[in-house]
């Protein structure tokens, strides 16, 4: 009889971890989320920890998301969405089954990475220099206590989008991602994140991950160059909202892919004056394309969205109506929604001491009320 191939000892942790996840899901299904208590949250944390030790990264993140959603339910947070919870529970279940199937065929923990995720990205050095131009940027805050600013970079030669993110724990810099704009890219350069987010750059000593993330490490050399941002934006340009639907239909849509989303750039839009819905703790603003089709921008009423909400109000006025909008389009529930990232102004705008002339204003972190024309 043939000897079984030597298996990675780390794989031995996967089976018990998956069992624990399955048991937890079964219990949750039996008791129902209406009977969720603080103990349930503690249990999720424990299960997520087990998943973490078994290097089941995606599962751990989905469990963390489930914990956040159940906590919102317990807190009677108006942003709680039963449909969102349904989706998360289902993804945990699908992931558990998919990883279990892959574990049977795997000989090492690395074989599981395509489906289970990796704890840290591997950044590999890139030979030579690369020319990039920033097409959009946005600030974000995670439930796990991190704030960050992500710049979307168009790689001119490879004609693809990359991302560069500066992230810090909120206990270090506070809950406002806009603060990160004033921080230098690294200890070795006086160039701030805000300056980096406005312009085109030649990057040297680049380290890049397989999913297109540029590391902002201290040896990264950043030199200004001249590339028109519209070169990159042309690749994600949508003539109207129908084109956005086409884009979303073409996005990966498997059960484990999450909601389809796509970076889009659209010109000739009009933004309606935002309306605040206190009951649902959300701000709604309509965006119309050239043919008058309307898409909804929905922004939860949270402190980190204050800048965006103020900016949307200004963008609805004729004085600050942008010529174009760069946004993340996604399918949320039954609706295609836009999450605005950056506004395009044909004539440059001064948005601070360090950026005196910019065509892009990053709506989530740069207040237009302080900008000048």
């Amino acid at each position: 009889m043939k000897e079984p191939a030597t298996r990675d000892p780390k794989l031995q942790r996967v089976g018990p971890a998956l069992d624990q996840v399955a048991r937890f899901l079964q219990r949750l299904a039996e008791q129902g989320w209406q009977r969720t208590t603080a103990v349930t949250l503690k249990e999720i944390r424990t299960v997520a920890q087990v998943a973490h030790h078994a290097r089941l990264v995606r599962l751990q993140r989905e469990l963390a998301r489930l914990e956040t959603q159940l906590k919102r339910y317990l807190d009677r947070d108006p942003s709680f969405s039963p449909a969102g919870l349904l989706g998360t529970v289902n993804r945990v279940w699908l992931l558990e089954r998919a990883i279990r199937g892959a574990t049977d065929r795997a000989t090492s923990i690395a074989d599981l990475e395509p489906i289970a995720g990796t704890p840290r990205r591997t950044y590999r050095p890139v030979e030579g220099m690369i020319d990039v131009v920033v097409g959009a940027a946005h600030g974000w805050v995670t439930d796990s206590g991190y704030v960050g600013v992500t710049a979307h970079l168009w790689h001119r030669d490879e004609k693809r989008w990359l991302q560069a993110t500066m992230a810090r724990p909120d206990r270090m810099v506070g809950p406002d991602p806009a603060r990160l704009l004033r921080m230098p890219l690294s200890d070795a350069t006086p160039l701030t994140m805000q300056e980096f987010c406005h312009g085109a750059w030649t990057l040297d000593d680049v380290r890049l991950s397989s999913d297109g993330r540029v590391s902002l490490h201290s040896e990264l050399v950043v030199v200004p160059t001249a590339i028109a941002a519209r070169q990159g934006l042309a690749t994600v340009a949508a003539e109207n909202f129908l084109a956005i639907v086409d884009r979303l239909e073409g996005a990966p849509s498997g059960p484990l892919d999450g909601t389809p989303q796509s970076l889009v750039y659209i010109e000739g839009i009009q933004i309606d004056r935002p309306l605040v819905d206190d009951t649902r703790a959300r701000v709604f603003a309509g965006v119309r394309d050239r043919q008058g089709r309307r898409l909804e921008v929905t922004v939860p009423l949270r402190p980190e969205h204050d800048v965006l909400i103020d900016n949307l109000e200004l963008c609805a006025t004729p004085a600050w109506s942008p010529e174009g909008l760069i946004a993340e389009a996604s399918l949320v529930g039954d609706q295609v929604v836009l999450s605005p990232l950056s506004a395009v102004f044909a004539r440059p705008v001064s948005i601070g001491r360090r950026v005196k002339s910019a065509h892009l204003v990053h709506l989530t972190v740069e207040p237009l009320k302080r900008a000048k024309r």
Binding site: G32, W93, A228, V245, T259, R293, E323, V344, S357
Partner: protein, 509 residues
């Protein structure tokens, strides 16, 4: 019932089940599921209807007694499968619904497109630097209307920024400013405003000026300005003006005017109004051609005595003295705060190109820190940054030929040409054929100046060492005849030398 409503009912049931839990689903849940199955059946979703029926049946089995773990597990599996279907189907359905809605709705909205921009050809007249921005001044061709174009060069590449490629926001490309100013530009639908009779444009997101092949015609500059320097700065006096025209300061301009002083107080320059002051956008250089001293630190060149004096000063008094002289240090020699990321060359070049004086002051400490008291390296970098490219003899010849009226500059050009021919005779590199003919043409325009140093035979009147010229001509021809690889240009030059000479017979005798 519409499919939207059916999907809504499915979601409601799923939420109710997940909310209440499978162990205590509540009375009537199974009946509700069965009813939902019928609705799904009616809507044509038979397969899902079957799933929902099975779920209802399984759920019914749990009611009434303590359910077994296996039974609960089976119901949980069915519930998850139904949830997967619902999420996936709803996603596809939502996109389809959006598409249908968008296809149906085509309201007319107010036109939000941009107002039409300016379409015109710009003849650049000059350039200056204001508050760190680069400002080109030009004229609209055919309309004689002034236009001001604001640009921003986000990074200098060291050396002389005016003669090296710069990343330009306005042109959205890497441009060499010196080359840029020699050609006309075409604006297409460029956003522009008109104020006080001038067009003003800046970088635009959607368009950029195209640099045309057509060169800018040479315009004679008004030559009625007198330059005066006082402790308050530079002033220019125009004869008919009752008051001085104060020149807005720019470090590069100041630097150039210091050099210009030795050529005399009168100069030809083109000024542009800027508020209640004037900015100098172009100037005639030592041989009368336009240069742009506000942004080009090498626009006016050191005279030989000046360069020698500078070198002596550097040698005797060291780095501090030189930096003080250039304004990088306070007279007391106290260092100012540093910007360690910039190289000294970049800082000096930036300072010379008209960045605010503060940046220049920072240069000193950077330079001293970076060089660690190595004046030789500093001198080397500084000489590159300050003096700019030294004109070669043939460059003077080419530029002088472009000047229609050489009367005023004749002495200067003549001195250069005589020195150049001497350098060839003394073993300097023989220029290419077409350059030699340019030299002879200029020699003739200058009235064949006599050179007391020589009584050599001449080529078209220019005293040369003819043996060297013969070699220069014969060498490439003989190599070409032997079948060696010689460029067509080289052969052409050699033939020009042979056949283009008035006294070719004696030349190749």
């Amino acid at each position: 019932m519409s499919l939207d409503q059916v999907l809504g009912d499915v979601r409601d049931e799923l939420i109710a089940l997940w909310g209440a839990g499978l162990a205590t689903p509540g009375p009537g849940r199974a009946d509700a599921l069965r009813s939902l199955a019928e609705t799904l059946n009616d809507a044509g979703l038979e397969r899902v209807a079957g799933e929902v029926s099975q779920l209802a049946k399984a759920l019914e089995g749990l009611v009434g007694e303590t359910p077994s773990a296996e039974a609960l597990h089976a119901v949980h599996e069915r519930l998850q499968q139904l949830t997967t279907w619902e999420v996936q189907f709803r996603r596809a359905w939502a996109l389809r619904t959006c598409r249908q809605t968008f296809e149906a709705s085509k309201e007319s909205v107010a036109d939000s497109s941009r107002p039409p921009g300016l379409d015109a050809t710009v003849v650049p007249l000059g350039v200056t630097s204001l508050d760190g921005r680069i400002v080109f001044v030009g004229e609209l061709e055919g309309r004689s209307q002034p236009i001001v174009l604001h640009d921003h060069w986000p990074g200098f590449r060291g050396g002389n920024p005016f003669r090296q490629a710069q990343a330009s926001r306005l042109f959205q490309d890497e441009v060499v400013p010196a080359t840029l100013l020699a050609h006309k530009w075409r604006l297409r639908d460029h956003p522009a405003v008109q104020r006080r009779g001038r067009w003003i444009v800046g970088p635009s997101f959607f368009t950029r000026p195209d640099v045309l092949d057509e060169e800018v015609p040479r315009i004679v500059m008004p030559d009625d300005l007198t330059l005066r320097w006082s402790s308050d700065g530079w002033t220019l006096w125009r004869e008919e003006a009752e008051h001085a025209l104060e020149v807005a300061p720019s470090a590069a301009l100041d630097f150039n005017l210091r050099k210009q002083r030795v050529y005399g107080p009168d100069l030809g320059a083109r000024l542009a109004p800027n508020g209640d002051r004037h900015v100098l956008i172009a100037m005639a250089d030592s041989i009368g051609l336009p240069c742009f001293p506000s942004v080009d630190p090498g626009a006016i060149r050191w005279t030989q005595p000046q360069a020698k004096a500078l070198a002596t000063r550097m040698a005797h008094r060291g780095v501090d003295a030189l930096l003080t002289y250039l304004g990088c240090l306070k007279p007391s020699g106290r260092k100012r705060k540093s910007v360690p990321s910039q190289t000294f060359g970049e800082v000096v070049a930036g300072w010379l190109a008209g960045r605010p004086p503060k940046a220049g002051n920072e240069a000193a400490a950077v330079a001293l820190a970076a060089l660690g008291g190595a004046p030789a390296a500093l001198v080397s970098e500084l000489s590159l940054a300050e003096i700019g490219p030294t004109p070669t003899g043939i460059e003077v010849v080419r530029r002088a030929l472009e000047i229609e009226d050489l009367a005023e500059r004749k002495a200067f050009v003549q001195a250069h040409v005589v020195a150049f021919t001497r350098s060839i005779r003394r073993g300097g590199v023989v220029p290419a054929g077409r350059d030699l003919w340019a030299l002879t043409a200029l020699w003739s325009r200058l009235g064949s100046p006599s050179d007391p140093e020589t009584s050599q035979p001449t080529l078209n009147g220019v005293p040369f060492d003819l043996d060297r010229l013969r070699l220069a001509a014969v060498n490439p021809l003989s190599r070409a005849l032997r079948g060696e690889a010689v460029s067509a240009e080289e052969v052409e030059d050699a033939l020009l030398l042979v056949v283009g000479s008035d006294d070719g017979a004696s030349f190749f005798a």
